[in-house]
């Protein structure tokens, strides 16, 4: 089985979010970048397939040279080959279109992406990609088993979950549950050393266009001070929620 894991290069959760160039671009100054958490659950599940069932695992990212350390980390975790599509990621459609070419050229059976990135939160690349390469698609995926060309997956739905059966080729929008937090792997020294020698292939983009554009970013208005209510005066809390906040 040939697996491709899509890796988004995103600011670490604890990063301060600021914007530059007239609030049109994310300010990367002093920001630590990581593998998108939803993608990391997928990568770890891919490693499980590789070790237990036999599979090759490639990772791919659409981005500039600054995203290579994130791909190297994925190699250090155990992926075989990394591919970087040398283009600035501008919107979900453009990224999906670039990835579609990688998927077609590489003949992948299973593509695992995160359900959404924690920066743009578009939640659209996996589904668009599936549609573009005519593969089956399951998102919000919290469990995945593959047997030959058959797959069984569990999707989280509002208020519960749903079990589905499908076949390869398949695109997954993954999240926590594909593996648990405790299954995530921290690259060890040997992995890091090996990752330096593994291929990281840079491919030129096919010049996909965008469908959407960013006009500007804006930060939410700063929040006011918390109103404290004494624990022996809960009538006041009920009063505030009813008369001031008007939520009950």
């Amino acid at each position: 089985m040939k697996i491709l894991v899509c890796i988004s290069h995103v600011p670490d959760t604890t990063s301060k979010i600021n914007f530059t160039d007239g609030d049109t671009k994310f300010d990367t100054n002093g920001v630590q970048f990581v593998i998108n958490p939803n993608d990391e659950f997928g990568l770890t599940r891919a490693m499980w397939f590789k070790e237990k069932q036999g599979a090759s695992v490639d990772v791919v990212n659409v981005g500039g040279p600054e995203t290579e350390p994130t791909l190297r980390k994925a190699l250090a975790i155990g992926a075989d080959t990394a591919i970087r599509v040398n283009a600035e990621a501008k919107d979900g459609y453009q990224v999906a279109k670039e990835l579609a070419k990688v998927v077609k050229d590489g003949g992948y059976d299973l593509v695992i992406a995160g359900r959404e990135s924690i920066d743009y939160n578009g939640a659209m690349v996996p589904g668009m990609l599936a549609e573009m390469v005519d593969a089956n698609f399951v998102t919000n995926c919290i469990s995945l088993e593959v047997d030959g060309t058959n797959a069984k997956a569990v999707r989280e739905i509002d208020g519960g979950k749903e079990s589905v059966s499908t076949t390869l080729p398949l695109v997954i929008g993954g999240q926590k549950g594909l593996v648990e937090e405790s299954d995530l792997r921290i690259p060890n020294m040997r992995g890091i050393m090996m990752a330096r020698k593994k291929p990281l292939n840079v491919v030129e983009p096919n010049g996909a266009s965008t469908e959407t554009g960013t006009v500007k970013f804006e930060k939410p208005a700063p929040k006011g001070e918390v109103t404290l209510v004494a624990p022996d005066n809960l009538d006041e809390l009920v009063n505030l929620l009813h008369n001031e906040a008007k939520v009950i």
Binding site: T13, I17, F41, D91, G92, Y93, I118, D119, N121, A123, M124, P126, G127, M128, A130, E131, N136, F137, T139, N140, I142, K152, R155, E156, I157, D158, G159, G160, K161, E162, S163, V164, S165, T166, T167, Q175, K176, E181, E211, T212, G213, T214, V215, K216, F217, E218, P220, V226, T227, L228, V229, P231, L234, L237, L240, L241, H242, A245, V247, I248
Partner: protein, 320 residues
């Protein structure tokens, strides 16, 4: 030319989000000087949509659509958009709508903006305000394609009533087969879901063990709220993963979010920040949640929560 809106239902009845997206579609239609057409799948009575500004309902009644299937449902909407010549398609951000939207986007060659929280700031260029960076910023985005898809975040726009009434006609699209088959659905049906809830009551490790969740559920019952939990609580197996809210769990955008014994890690706050009013109950006055909350009680949850339940019961009785 009309604005097309996908009004979701469950067991033959509209979800609340259906009325919210209908209200949103009506606002867009007014801006663009056109009407609203809704697509309803296997709904018994669609008349209520008129109240939220829908002019015409396309009624789809088909056993092949009894279970939600993203590919088949996307195809139904695609055919409806083509029939109506719609340039804007509006849908909610439920798990199902988020699943089908990217498929619809490719089939209609339509740009898609997700997590939209306000009516378009401009219709030419078509510009919407959406959340990004897991609720730490807003992103004003243009959709540059001829057809546009807008995913409206639940509880962001609200319900707007109109005095109109909706006409209804049968719509019989071709049902596309899908390579994904639903085998079974495991769903709690007697509880409010986190996605639909106006109020969410959430608890963390401060509750010391799963045996102490009775009061959380009782508080949720009194308020008609959904229950949720922090990540450590779901990792420890005290509560099901489906209740985990936060960055890697479910997002919450309720009107009221009550956090009990949750310190407020940045990953947690990122996931719940879209809630309008936040209340925190925690013994530790230094807990980061107090900086993110609107109202706070510094106190022991085991004393505060039972009292709060009694006060709320009295309040409900007095205001019934």
């Amino acid at each position: 030319m009309s604005i097309l809106v996908y009004t979701e239902s469950e067991n033959g009845t509209f979800k609340k989000a259906a009325f919210e997206v209908a209200s949103y579609a009506k606002a867009v239609a007014d801006q663009m000087g056109t009407s609203v057409t809704a697509v309803a799948v296997n709904v018994n009575d669609t008349s209520e949509l008129g109240k939220y500004g829908v002019d015409k309902v396309l009624n789809v009644s088909n056993d092949g659509l009894a279970k939600f299937n993203a590919k088949s449902y996307a195809s139904v909407l695609s055919q409806a958009a083509k029939q109506e010549g719609s340039k804007v398609v509006v849908l909610s951000q439920s798990a199902d709508s988020k699943y089908l939207a990217p498929l619809l986007s490719v089939s209609l060659d339509a740009g898609y903006a997700s997590n939209v929280v306000a009516a378009p700031t401009s219709t030419s260029p078509f510009t919407v305000k959406r959340t990004a960076f897991t609720n730490k910023a807003f992103n004003f985005t243009t959709i540059d394609t001829d057809i546009k898809i807008v995913g409206v975040s639940n509880n962001s726009f609200g319900l707007v009533e109109n005095s109109a009434s909706a006409s209804s006609e049968d719509f019989s699209p071709e049902i596309t087969s899908s390579g994904v088959t639903v085998e079974s659905v495991d769903k709690v049906t007697d509880k409010v879901t986190i996605a639909d809830a106006e109020i969410v009551v959430s608890a963390g490790r401060g509750l010391k063990g799963p045996e102490n969740w009775g009061m959380v559920e009782e508080l949720a019952d009194v308020l008609g709220a959904a229950t949720a939990c922090s990540k450590p609580v779901s990792d420890l197996g005290w509560r099901p993963h489906s209740e985990h809210v936060g960055q890697t769990g479910k997002p919450v955008a309720s009107n009221l979010y009550i956090a009990i014994g949750i310190s407020g890690a940045i990953q947690h706050l990122a996931g719940i920040n879209a809630s309008k009013v936040k209340v925190v109950i925690n013994t530790d006055p230094e807990a980061p949640f107090f900086k993110a909350a609107d109202y706070g009680v510094v106190g022991d949850a085991f004393e505060v929560v039972p009292q709060l339940i009694e006060k709320l019961k009295a309040f409900k009785a007095a205001n019934a």
